[in-house]
């Protein structure tokens, strides 16, 4: 039951897991591709709405306010004038979307190689730290090389961080879920150390505040919509869009992508076909981490500029990436849509929300609930298809169960 000839037959669970993953993927494609994610989203919002209703708030009004808080009402009266509330909110939503696209790709790429990268948060943090360090140092550089060095460093750091998990899986068979969870927590504590009292990246101006230095102005990304320095939308947005294209190109138009997908579908078959499973596990994990590290780098240089100890536990974009990728069926287009949805939720339920129906504190937690429900339902596509088929009454009721049995 080992995956590939070179990998120790230590974890038979992996073989089963990857086996079912391919089967599941086929199942989703068969169902028309769109059914599972759309129904998942609808169900999650429905149940979230029920909780809102049960606690004495009007769910429709709450969702409307969140919609407006995310600036999605901008489409009814589009304007580039950032003074308009909807335009400002939309720019902030897109800022979150930028991050979530990359964090989603970090999960999706590993998934296509049959691995679950739960460590996007840690890889994102590592990218953030390195970008802050490189962005603060080298302040004598000209903007373009400075930005390239800082972004490149962040990307490489994320790749290296995830690469540890890939390397451990390929060489000693350590399960990537366990190692990426551990790497997440190591990254979190290292960050608290770096920016904390007496830490090496703590700001030089005020040693009593556990916050990093601001990155130099030469390393800050240009803003194209909004006020620079006041969280305007930066060019990182286009980098994220480009990353989606790169993701699609790598997977579908290169040998590397073919090998990664082959290992994801069936490591045994891939090994039999002469593909090195070990090499691809490490490569896929490193590329995954590169996306998350890039997200951290762009956030730091694009609008955060500094990071503090108290910001660390507040950040959950790496984990949101899991929901984004799963909802987007680990494809480029799906990830983009999932990232927009969760980006809107992330901003629309917190800072953007002005509502007398539901407080931002409640709505923010509603986001977590919806995120949890989405991940829960996507993981159980059998249920979703069951609901779908029962509703349509087109097939016998047992059909989805037998389809799921193709494991």
């Amino acid at each position: 039951m080992s995956i590939g000839a070179n990998v120790p037959p230590e974890t038979p669970e992996e073989a089963a897991e990857t086996g079912t993953m391919a089967a599941r993927f086929a199942l989703k494609q068969r169902a028309g591709g769109l059914v599972v994610p759309v129904l998942t989203g609808v169900l999650a919002f429905l149940i979230g709405g029920l909780v809102v209703l049960a606690t004495g708030h009007n769910p429709l009004a709450a969702y409307r306010d969140i919609f407006n808080g995310a600036g999605l009402n901008w489409i009814f009266h589009p304007t580039t004038n950032i003074a308009s509330t909807s335009a400002y909110n939309l720019s902030q939503t897109l800022l979150q979307t930028t991050t979530l696209i990359l964090c989603g790709l970090a999960v999706a790429f590993a998934f296509r190689c049959g691995m679950f990268n739960i460590g996007g948060q840690g890889q994102y943090f590592v990218g953030l730290y390195v970008a802050n360090w490189l962005g603060f140092d080298f302040a004598y550089m000209r903007p373009l090389p400075h930005i390239l060095i800082a972004v490149g460093g962040a990307t490489l750091a994320g790749a290296a961080w995830a690469g540890i998990a890939g390397f451990l899986k390929a060489t000693v068979g350590a399960h990537e879920v366990i190692s990426t969870i551990m790497l997440n927590w190591i990254a979190i504590w290292v960050g608290e150390w770096l920016f904390g009292d007496g830490g090496p990246l703590q700001n030089v101006a005020n040693r009593s505040v556990p916050i990093s230095n601001d990155v130099a102005s030469s390393a800050q990304l240009p803003t194209f919509w909004g006020v620079p320095g006041l969280q305007g939308l930066d060019v990182g947005f286009f980098v994220a869009i480009a990353a989606l294209v790169v993701f699609w190109l790598i997977l579908n138009r290169t040998t590397l992508g073919f090998e990664v997908r082959a290992v994801g579908f069936s490591p045994e078959a891939a090994a039999y076909g002469g593909i090195s499973v070990k090499k691809n596990l490490i490569r896929a994990m490193a590329i995954s981490g590169a996306f998350a590290g890039l997200a951290g780098g762009l956030d730091m240089l694009g609008y955060l500029y500094h990071f503090g100890v108290s910001d660390i536990p507040a950040s959950s974009v790496g984990f949101l990436g899991i929901a984004v990728a799963l909802l987007g069926r680990n494809t480029a287009v799906g990830t983009a849509i999932g990232a927009l949805l969760f980006g809107a939720l992330l901003f629309g339920t917190t800072h953007g929300l002005s509502s007398n129906v539901i407080q931002p504190e409640l709505a923010g937690n509603l986001t977590y609930m919806i995120q949890g429900l989405v991940v829960l339902f996507v993981g159980a596509d059998v249920l979703i298809l069951y609901v779908w088929n029962t509703r349509r009454k087109l097939r016998p009721r047992t059909k989805p169960t037998t389809a799921g049995a193709a494991t």
Binding site: E13, A16, V172, I181, I186, I322, T367, Q371, V378
Partner: protein, 403 residues
């Protein structure tokens, strides 16, 4: 020890010729080298730690030459670290040493370790039955919030424990349905459980308490003051006044060992985790056993959560209160190789490292913060197989399909 020749027909030299015994002695000596420098022994010269450490390294090298490479290298590394820590301790101030290493460190170790013990044992039951439980963190968080809620509204900590455990058990039941009946990917499902718990507890914390600390005067889980011991010099502050749940956790470890390895129920749980098809063939209801184990897992993890908020926390709750303790518990379970005693030892070790980390602030805030990575680094090393391989149950994480 097989004294085959007359020359070594002597228990001491026979023991010395046994590489395993020598290797483990090296490990113990390595720890001793560090221990010499701290209270109560607290030697102030570097000679002691160095001599003991060198002996540990020598034992390790000898063990390596006798074929037990991994064990021997372990002893060598422990010896080196022991010398380093021992010398460091002799160089640091007596006042600081006494502030870090005193009797209440033991009490604090148990206080930090207990939620991890509950979580690790909880995870062990679930995984022994073949269901991976990444959702420990979420179940613990449910216990933490609803436990305080129950104690507050019900007026007694007993009700808090009941309500908290019920909430965790309920979440575990939902997870069990998805993982067992719907055969959802267990890692994905467990991740979902963590998000859900974060959302549910945060939402209701704000809805019911406006996000503030829970009102004063909540009935909390009491400490057990042992009359004879509480007034003693060292043992008193160490174990004389521990929380009730700490003692419960000790009992839990023993009971779970007996249940898992000495009863038919335990055999069934392990059978479902190792080879569910075979278990099914001999008439064991795999689904029922797995449901039971996962729900039990939820009950135990949330009991750890209730202790966190209503015992250790003194009746308060804060957003995301568990702060990754569920994941440390998961790590402890893996580090303890899916066994009750191992999980307990690892949980207490991680609790110890948290307690030491907190106290290292007398030296430097930086060192104190950085020390917190220890459990995660150790677990990473453990899953990498550097110090003996960890072996999960064979069917861990595999959904079972009835035929």
């Amino acid at each position: 020890m097989t004294p085959t020749t007359a020359r070594f027909d002597n228990p001491v030299s026979g023991w010395l010729r046994n590489p395993a015994a020598t290797g483990y002695s090296g490990l113990v000596l390595g720890v001793l080298a560090a221990f010499l420098g701290i209270p109560p022994i607290q030697t102030r010269t570097v000679t002691g730690p160095i001599i003991v450490g060198v002996v540990a390294i020598a034992f390790g090298i000898w063990t390596v030459t006798r074929g037990r490479r991994r064990l021997g290298l372990g002893a060598v590394v422990t010896g080196l670290i022991g010398i380093g820590l021992g010398v460091l301790a002799t160089r640091s101030g007596v006042g600081n040493l006494n502030a870090v290493f005193n009797a209440s460190l033991i009490a604090q170790t148990f206080a930090f370790g207990t939620p991890l013990v509950f979580g690790a044992i909880a995870g062990m039951f679930s995984e022994r039955s073949g269901v991976v439980n990444i959702g420990l963190e979420g179940m613990m968080l449910m216990g933490a919030f609803w436990g305080v809620y129950g104690a507050d509204k019900g007026g007694t900590w007993v009700l808090g424990l009941v309500v908290g455990m019920a909430a965790g058990g309920l979440l575990a039941l939902v997870y069990a349905y998805f993982a067992i009946h719907l055969r959802a990917d267990q890692i994905v499902g467990g991740t979902a459980v963590n998000f859900l718990a974060l959302g549910i507890t945060g939402y209701f914390f704000f809805q019911l308490y406006n996000g503030n600390y829970v009102s004063e005067g909540v009935s909390t889980i009491p400490n057990v003051r042992i009359p004879g011991i509480a007034s003693l010099h060292f043992l008193g502050p160490a174990i004389g006044d521990l929380n009730l749940m700490v003692w419960v956790s000790f009992v839990l470890v023993i009971v779970s060992y007996i249940v898992l390895f000495k009863t038919p129920i335990g055999l069934r749980i392990r059978a479902c985790g190792e080879h569910p098809r075979a278990a099914d063939t001999v008439g064991i209801n795999v689904y029922a056993v797995r449901y039971g184990a996962v729900v039990l897992s939820g009950l135990l993890a949330s009991a750890g959560g209730v202790y966190l908020s209503d015992g250790f926390g003194g009746g308060t709750f804060t957003d995301n209160m568990t702060e990754g303790r569920g994941f440390i518990a998961l790590a402890a379970m893996i580090f303890g190789n899916w066994r009750p005693a191992g999980a307990f030892a690892a949980a207490i070790l991680f609790g110890f490292s948290s307690a030491v980390a907190l106290r290292l602030q007398v030296y430097s805030a930086s060192a104190s913060t950085l020390f917190n990575v220890l459990p995660y680094v150790l677990t990473l090393i453990a899953v990498a197989g550097v110090i003996g391989r960890t072996v999960p149950p064979a069917a861990d994480g595999k959904p079972y399909q009835k035929q």
